[in-house]
């Protein structure tokens, strides 16, 4: 039957695709949250020796942080900032979708050239991890709105997490904490920065920030 892991991989690819194509910031946040939910199911499936306490704990933590907590924070910021739609970025939405697929092709090509130390849970996992990272980077680069850029950063972190999960199924505690702490710090810093910026300037358009330099 269809491998469950493969289904999750395809869902991640689809969320990436839809994220770069949507102009509603709320939709982007929801898609990033969905990605987080999908990722939280993965530790339960890729463990080598059965579903242990560690895997369950990891799944629950990731689900609540990436799937619930962070998106909620962003939705609050969205309400405060009072902006609904992303302005058309200099790479149009339609072109972004095409570029996303091209990045996916690139990821497949790159990972086909690499040799892995151990068998992968799914042949799609590594390329999709790389493509998620690239998608996150692309969103950060191409969007003007600061909240969209935070979403891009979240997607980037999702990709990094996926990478870590595949390559080291028995993730040592240190790396797990590192990843989660990374996310916490990023969100808090960005969240505070956004609140402050929007309070100072009445908007959070990053492009306008360039007027700060002399």
């Amino acid at each position: 039957m269809i491998s469950f892991v493969e289904l999750l991989m395809i869902l991640i690819a689809l969320t990436n695709l839809m994220l770069v194509g949507s102009s509603r910031i709320a939709a982007c946040i929801n898609l990033a949250a969905a990605q987080g939910v999908v990722l939280s199911l993965l530790p339960l499936l890729v463990t080598n020796d059965g579903i242990g306490l560690r895997a369950v704990l990891l799944a629950v933590v990731v689900f609540s942080v990436k799937g619930l907590f962070l998106p909620q924070l962003l939705r609050r910021a969205l309400l405060t900032a009072d902006v609904k739609h992303e302005v058309e970025p200099w790479v149009g939405f339609t072109a972004s979708i095409v570029l996303n697929i091209l990045l996916l092709v690139l990821s497949f090509w790159v990972t086909a050239r690499l040799t892995m130390p151990r068998p992968m849970p799914s042949p799609l996992a590594l390329p999709l991890a790389l493509s998620t990272i690239l998608t996150g980077l692309f969103v950060i680069i191409s969007r003007f709105n600061a909240l969209s850029q935070v979403v891009g950063y979240l997607v980037l972190e999702n990709g990094v997490y996926l990478f870590g999960l595949i390559l080291a199924p028995e993730v040592p505690l240190l790396v797990e904490m590192g990843i989660l702490l990374d996310v916490f710090v990023a969100v808090f810093v960005m969240g505070i920065a956004i609140f402050h910026i929007s309070r100072e300037f009445d908007h959070i358009d990053v492009d306008q920030l360039t007027t700060l330099k002399d």
Binding site: T94, V105, F108, W109, A112
Partner: protein, 666 residues
């Protein structure tokens, strides 16, 4: 081969006679056009003979030019390209005989026929030349003859400007060709193709350099992006039968050169095939998009030539990839599709340009927004043009579909390649071709709909008259050819087999197996084409039966509630293309002028949209300006006094004398 040489001589002689008889227009017309037709007929016979015999005949004479020898040969590749040359030139000559009557008082037609026949003769020489010097001489004669043909209507400043652009562009390309032959000749010690082939393959770096030189040199003539900028300038301003020859045939000579260069060079690495595919896709999609934005009928057709050359290059690149990846199916199908498209494009592009000429001849304008309703006034022309339009979009049951089908099969064959790095370029061809076909459909429904259907949008269109038999007949012949090649493609592809084997250089067993792979679907396509036509006829009969005895009335088109619809309320060409142009807007440079309607009863309102060619604006014009500034510094050399110029000659002579004595006399 002898027959072909006779044809060349016949063309040259008849052209000269027409020039001499310039004072007697009727005589020069008969001499020129008649000689052209006769020569081309002979050429066709020679070519078909060479193809069916799959033979190579060579002739050689001595020629007292350093490195030069008059060695010519008619092998299957050359014979295949002779087919479109002779076919289109002959038919255009018939067409031109009537078409030029409009210029009777103002221009000398003898000169025109001289250059026309010279063009045909020189193209035949280029195709059959087997020596670098002979090739370049014939190439230059071809360029010059076509230049003089383009500036035939030299009363118009725009025409002269376009001719200048063409001359500069073609000589830039020839410069690269010169470089190509010099490098080749240095390695082999001689410029004979046979000697070059015998000299063995060059190393990878030299081969790469040679490939690039050939690509730029031949690509300029063929009209690949971004070397295409002269095409939309020169083709519209030439008389229509000359445009037909240039667009349908002369660009193919560029393709011939590229193929011949590929045969002379060692087996291509994958990079070259990928590069050709990339250039083909870019030329194809951008070509058709720019065509969409035009409202000059002939300029639009010229941009479409860029698109179809892109398709041919794409097929060629696919074939090269197949050779380098050892995928014989891809190789054979890609090359066959590309070469078949060479013939097909010649047929339907020639047809379309002749039709555009008939339209311009009858209405005096090429502007799409002033035409309309011409189908009622020139039904045969409209019918033939429609056949050409359906063929160029690549729809069954016509020939455009047959050649694109072969290229698709080749691209799908790339699916067997397991390495994604190899498969991706092949697979990219599939959506690119589909997009090109869809956009071509947008463009040609626009052209046919705006020009021939609906109501005339201006007085000129309303007053159009039928062109004579001499002008309609070549179009009908070409339309019949399109239909024939669509219904029986396997018959034509059989002729193509020896050509493909020459290009692909495979062993016989694999090659024959692949040919069979290509022929089986083609037979089915042929069956489907016949079934389609039969079905349409049957349904027409059915409808006739149903409607017999019932009331069939006519009335005006329902105006949707408007009481006074005028012909100007119809969709114009810009409005039809607008949704598509808006979607692809980042690729265009559009200048709009808009005087918006104001108030409750708006008086004046106007809208115009100009799209300019980005390659020209961003690449060439700045480069030329820069060169111009640089060279302005050299102006002091031109003093204007005759003595100074003679001084320059004398100084050069003395310097050469000293140098020769130093080098050669110990």
């Amino acid at each position: 081969m002898n027959l072909l040489l006779v044809a060349v001589v016949l063309l040259f002689v008849s052209g000269t006679l027409a020039l001499v008889a310039g004072g007697f227009p009727a005589l020069s017309k008969v001499l020129g056009a008649g000689g052209s037709v006769a020569g081309c007929a002979l050429g066709l016979v020679a070519a078909v003979g060479a193809l069916t015999r799959a033979s190579t005949e060579a002739l050689g004479y001595n020629w007292d030019v350093p490195y030069g020898s008059f060695s010519v040969a008619l092998d299957p590749l050359s014979a295949w390209f002779v087919l479109p040359i002779c076919g289109i030139c002959g038919l255009s000559a018939i067409y031109g005989a009537k078409y030029l009557d409009a210029y009777a008082e103002r221009k000398s037609r003898g000169a025109h026929w001289f250059f026309f026949n010279l063009l045909a003769a020189s193209m035949l020489m280029v195709i059959t030349a087997r020596n670098g010097v002979l090739f370049l001489v014939a190439w230059e004669v071809m360029s010059l003859a076509s230049y003089f043909l383009v500036v035939f209507d030299d009363d118009d400043e725009g025409v002269l400007e376009a001719g200048r652009t063409y001359l500069i562009a073609t000589h830039l390309g020839t410069a690269f060709l010169l470089g190509f032959f010099i490098v080749l000749g240095q390695r082999a010690g001689s410029l004979d193709f046979a000697a070059i082939a015998a000299a063995g393959p060059p190393d990878a770096a030299t081969a790469g350099l040679l490939f690039l030189l050939a690509l730029v040199g031949f690509g300029t003539k063929a009209g690949l992006m971004p070397l295409h900028v002269w095409l939309p300038e020169a083709h519209p301003v030439a008389p229509s039968h000359v445009s037909a020859v240039m667009s349908a045939v002369m660009v193919k000579v560029g393709i011939y050169g590229l193929v011949r260069a590929l045969i002379l060079l060692p087996p291509a690495p994958a990079r070259w095939g990928g590069l050709l595919i990339g250039i083909g896709i870019v030329s194809g999609i951008l070509g058709v998009l720019f065509a969409l934005a035009q409202h000059d009928l002939k300029r639009l057709l010229a941009y479409h030539t860029v698109e179809n050359i892109g398709i041919i290059t794409l097929g060629l690149g696919l074939g090269l990839l197949g050779v380098s990846f050892r995928a014989p199916l891809v190789a054979v199908l890609g090359v066959s599709g590309a070469l078949f498209h060479v013939l097909n494009h010649a047929m339907f592009k020639g047809l379309l340009f002749l039709g555009a000429g008939a339209v311009a001849h009858a209405t005096g304008t090429r502007d799409l927004d002033l035409l309309g309703g011409l189908s009622k006034r020139m039904p045969w022309v409209a019918g033939a043009f429609l056949v050409g339009a359906v063929a160029i979009v690549g729809l069954p049951p016509l020939n455009g579909f047959a050649s694109e089908f072969l290229i698709y099969l080749g691209a799908f064959g790339g699916e067997e390649l397991s390495d994604p790095g190899q498969a991706v370029p092949c697979l990219l061809v599939i959506p690119a071709l589909a997009l090109m076909g869809g956009l071509a459909a947008v463009c040609f429904t626009k052209v046919v709909g705006v020009v021939f259907l609906g109501e005339p949008r201006s007085e000129q269109a309303a007053g159009a008259h039928r062109p004579g038999l001499l002008m309609s007949l070549p179009m009908l012949v070409l339309a019949a050819g399109c239909l024939l090649c669509g219904i029986a493609p396997q018959g034509v592809v059989v002729l193509l087999v020896p050509v493909v084997s020459q290009v692909v250089r495979m062993d016989l067993a694999t090659f024959s197996a692949q040919v069979e792979n290509a022929m089986v679907p083609l037979r089915w396509i042929s069956l489907v084409a016949s079934v389609l036509i039969g079905l349409a006829l049957a349904l027409a009969v059915l409808r006739k039966v149903l409607l017999s005895g019932r009331e069939v009335a006519t009335s005006g088109t329902w105006g949707c509630g408007y009481t006074r619809p005028t012909a100007r309320m119809q969709y114009t060409s810009s409005s039809f293309a607008q949704p598509t142009i808006l979607f692809f807007m980042p690729l265009f440079r559009i200048r709009q002028t808009l005087i918006a309607p104001e108030g409750l009863f708006p008086q004046r309102a106007a809208f115009s949209m100009e799209t300019s060619d980005p390659a020209k604006e961003l690449l060439y014009l700045p480069a030329f300006r820069w060169v111009g500034r640089l060279l302005a510094g050299l102006r002091w050399l031109q003093r204007g006094h005759l003595h100074i110029y003679i001084l320059y000659i004398g100084v050069t002579l003395v310097a050469l004398l000293i140098w020769y004595v130093e080098i050669h006399i110990p």
